[in-house]
Amino acid sequence: MGSMGNRKALEMVRSMPRVSFVNIRDNPGSKKQKKIRGQGGSRGGESGRGRSGKSKRDTRPPIGYEGGTTPFYLRIPMFPFYKNFATRRQYIPVSLEKLQHLIDMGRIDPEEPIDVTSFVHAGAVRINVFDRVYGIHLTDEGADKFVAPVNLEVQWTSELSIAAVERSGGTISLGYYDPQSLDILSHPLQFFRRGQPIPKRLLPPKDLVDMYTDPSKRGYLSDPNQIKENRLLLAQKFGYELPDLTKGSRRALHR
């Protein structure tokens, strides 16, 4: 089915004259202008360099030169703020306050497992894997007021956030998704329309293995029994009674 724009374009083409040498031209940028030597053309003669002087003779000082005083860019000491920045992993922050708000507004359904796809469909985050985004970081702002029982999977979190979620009668786990898998997870319907087979979800890289096998961080590759122990310990540490997960609405749990 052609859209309105396509139909208009076709009608225009029908009414246009026949293509000939008169009404075609090269694509912009396809033909580069030749260098002009001597007096011919606009860049002839002095070649845009002006009359005698340092600018003509290419003996100007370097950019940033301040006539002899130490230039600004040499006065300020170096600090590696952006060292390895291009290779660092980024995690989009979502606070517990934001999550509670999304649930209260009905943008996220707490009866279903909540993962990256839920956050993207709720419009809370935008995942662009080309910005080296590796997932979502659940921050602990709003932990005191968080009350929704959720079944959550994120990629980074803190101990306080885990405590806040478990205190409310929910579960949380940390799951690693390699960039290709994360990209698919953030727009699954578009991916399925392509008709491509689902690629393998890779295991975490070496420096992330410790995190995802750590039961105190609720890693998805950690020992389930140790996770249960940790749930009890965390409840003791933060002073709440661990809710009974068998009661309440039946939800498909991640693990």
Partner: protein, 217 residues
Amino acid sequence: MFGRVCLLCSLSRPVVSAHLSRTHQLRALYSSYESQYSLNKLYPGSDQDVTKPLDKPSKELFLRLQDDIEEVSETEKFSGFIPIDKLNVKFSKSGGPGGQNVNKVESKVDLRFHLESAEWLPASIRAQIQEKKQTNINAKGELVITSQKTRSQMRNVQDCLQKLRDIIAEVQRTPKEPDENSAAVWRMRQEKSTRERLKQKTIHSRTKTDRQVYADE
């Protein structure tokens, strides 16, 4: 599945597994597949169902939160478990600067429980707390612990519980008695420091005297 017409038999009866469609067969096949990194294979003894609590939590589990206490008899050892429902926890607004946030948010935590009737603490520990922590016990016999260390209520509750655990550990520690040799050495050092102090004092006194000017000089 019930009531579907089986084409081979052309009779209305429940469809048995032999007549399952290809997609159902594939689904059954793939749902039984387990990779070598599946949790069943990595941790064979663990129950994956999070809703089921642990069958037998180990005795030392809660002691991970408690500092190691030396020289305690087994019968009187604290298990490490604090029953939160037996504690009386109250929240109120914190003091200090902080503008609108400190005025509105109830981040101060007050934790108290009646010491004598705390069955979860061994009797010897209760007695020791009564003896050594009188300043933290009120007229009603309640041990009172407060915290307004952080901006967050949850973290302040954690701080209160940590303080409680520290008290339990502290009252059980027997202070190390100094042995005979060290007592004598300590006395000698005290006398030496006193002698030195008095020596400096006389020197200073002489300096002050030397500065005095008499009218007849």
